[in-house]
């Protein structure tokens, strides 16, 4: 975890200094930044020191949670909090739905291998991971927001009026399309992996033994087979969470979702270097925490890992 964090810090620092120093980049993105912002950043980046000292000082600030100020002059750390919350809201709901739907569907598909249902499920799944997430979002917006007018097309909540007439329903309505898109894409990967693992496990001798000792089909499938097929799926869920967070710029921009990804895309286009560095670091921490949780879940689920 520490080398990863350090690696990201080095890469984000390096790109910020690729043209000499971050202030040049900030000036290239914003014609006339205010003198106060420039002065604050000059101090924050310690521009009077040599590069390696600048890195160490900047890294020290980072560890203390000081992320500098953005082009607007506001502290980056303050701005990121609210975005992180909206991003996690969207990502966690989608992830839970994808797991809840993906595992039973994958199991069903494996049990009915080569049936029509299996072909249908695998086809829908392969489209899911061949599709740019944001493009599916655009198509759904065109259909459900513009053509049918059922759902809002952008944002996390209504500003001038409440969709479906009630503040809570309004928030739900704003979640429907982004959650659908994100769920489908993660779901596709989960279904594919669960199916493949189940197919392998269902051929094992101990499954035959369990069946022949008269256990119900349900018990054999879920308690004997799935238990052994699930470990790689846990890893995949951790990885997809990381991928979804990393992919947030595209999905969140499509839905104008006020989260880290949308903010990142805007900030990177404007070359707001402190903001971009801050968001990258925060997303990295989220990914690392997700990986840690995944590893712990892996150990809890698979006793074989515990031995060594």
């Amino acid at each position: 975890m520490i080398p990863v964090f350090l690696g990201v810090a080095i890469l984000t620092f390096a790109v910020g200094n690729a043209a000499g120093n971050p202030l040049d980049l900030i000036r290239a993105g914003l014609r006339n930044p205010s003198p106060q912002v420039i002065e604050a950043l000059r101090q924050y980046y310690h521009l009077d020191r040599p590069v390696y000292e600048r890195f160490l000082l900047w890294f020290g600030e980072l560890l203390q949670g000081n992320l500098g100020v953005s082009q607007s002059g506001r502290p980056v750390a303050q701005q990121i909090g609210a975005w992180a919350f909206t991003t996690l809201e969207l990502q966690l709901i989608s992830l839970m739905l994808a797991v809840a739907i993906g595992i039973p569907v994958g199991v069903y598909s494996a049990k009915k291998q080569y049936s029509n249902a299996d072909y249908a499920i695998t086809s829908v799944a392969i489209f899911g991971y061949s599709m740019p997430t944001f493009w599916l979002g655009i198509m759904l917006i065109i259909l459900f927001s513009f053509y049918l007018g059922w759902l809002p097309s952008s944002g996390a909540e209504g500003i001038s009026f409440f969709w479906w007439g009630n503040p809570i329903l309004d928030q739900l309505a704003h979640l429907v399309l982004p959650v659908t898109v994100l769920t489908y894409v993660t779901l596709a990967a989960i279904v594919r992996l669960v199916r493949a693992n189940m197919l392998e496990v269902l051929r094992q001798d101990y499954i035959l033994a369990a069946r022949s000792s008269g256990l119900s089909d349900r018990t054999v499938t879920y308690r004997y087979a799935l238990r052994n097929a699930i470990s790689p799926v846990v890893t995949l869920v951790g990885l997809s969470f990381g991928a979804a967070l990393g992919g947030a710029p595209a999905t969140e921009t499509t839905f104008s979702w006020p989260g880290l990804g949308y903010a990142f895309a805007q900030a990177a286009l404007n070359l707001d270097i402190p903001l971009v560095q801050g968001i990258t670091v925060v997303i990295t921490i989220m990914v690392l925490v997700a990986n840690l949780i995944t590893d712990m879940a892996y150990v809890a689920l698979d006793p074989r890992v515990r031995i060594d």
Binding site: V8, A18, S130, M131, A268, L271, T280, L288, N291
Partner: protein, 297 residues
């Protein structure tokens, strides 16, 4: 036992794989899609009705028109014919996908083989770097690098800059696979035999070990093409690509602004992406099945 039985050569590994691949319907479908897109990429730009990034339809007063016989995929608000643009984009997107994937494979095989073969400090360092690149939020860094380098450092590299950035951040999965296979194969008897005959480490690595891990490398290279095309589409869609080169992502970027009224602008390039990526994915899955010696059927 006649002489005939002895002389008959057993089918090579590649012949067996090809036979398996040919029987796999979805793999064939995938390859056909891939061939179709390759043909479009090679000859398409010469046959496209309009040149790349051309606003001609604007002067004909046809800007923003829905699909018609003259403009099968419709026209953008700015007067760009979407059909021609999708064709020009095919060449550029395939270039990005293929070039980035091949570069990635070269980096990944070299680092994976070295990291798996050499124990001790070298192996640990390579493994550490690979793990860092595997976990970091790659897309964020790709966007950031693309933006910073295109603005200030390497102006005018165009798509090649995107290729280099994609490869720089994309090699870790290849490296992991190659490392795992190298660890397995270096303990095998034929490697020990070669070593006891005095073969050097580099000779062992690149003459004996690497040729034996080609199958998984071919599969991951094919699947990576799909992945890099998707990433390029995201990069261009968000406005971080080369604004002077036609790519599917760039049309999607322009279509996004007018999606309320002009559904055809985002629809058709998106379909091109989906089918092209689907083709490479199906082909990669088919290759994976065909080259896997453990599958009995």
């Amino acid at each position: 036992m006649g002489e005939r039985t002895i002389r008959r050569r057993s089918a090579s590994q590649w012949a067996v794989a090809w036979r398996r691949f040919r029987r796999n319907k979805s793999a064939l479908a995938g390859s056909s899609i891939v061939v179709f897109f390759l043909v479009v990429a090679i000859v398409g730009p010469y046959l496209a009705p309009y040149p790349a990034r051309s606003y001609e339809a604007l002067y004909a007063g046809e800007a923003g028109e829905p699909p018609s016989w003259k403009h099968p995929f419709g026209v953008e608000q700015s007067g760009i014919d979407v059909f021609s643009e999708v064709i020009h984009g095919t060449r550029n997107d395939l270039y990005v996908g293929l070039a980035a994937s091949i570069l990635t494979t070269l980096i990944g095989v070299a680092l994976g083989a070295v990291g798996g073969y050499f124990k001790g400090l070298v192996g640990d360092i390579v493994l550490g770097i690979t793990q860092v690149f595997f976990v970091i939020p790659v897309l964020l860094l790709i966007l950031l690098f693309a933006r910073v380098f295109s603005v200030l450092v390497f102006k005018g590299l165009g798509l090649t800059l995107i290729v280099l950035i994609l490869a720089f951040f994309g090699w870790s999965s290849v490296s992991f696979i190659v490392r795992g296979e190298t660890l397995k194969i270096k303990e095998m008897e034929f490697v020990q035999a070669a070593r006891s005959l005095g073969a050097s480490s580099w000779r062992l690595l690149f003459r004996h070990i690497v040729p034996n891990i080609l199958s998984p490398v071919i599969v991951i290279t094919t699947l990576n093409i799909a992945g890099f095309i998707l990433t390029e589409v995201v990069v261009s869609f968000l406005g971080f690509g080369d604004a002077n080169t036609s790519t599917w992502g760039l049309i999607l970027n322009e279509g996004f602004s007018y999606m309320r009224t002009e559904w055809w602008v985002p629809l058709f390039p998106g379909l091109a992406v989906v089918f092209c990526v689907l083709g490479f994915n199906l082909m990669g899955d088919g290759l994976s099945d065909a080259l896997n010696p453990r599958l009995r059927e």
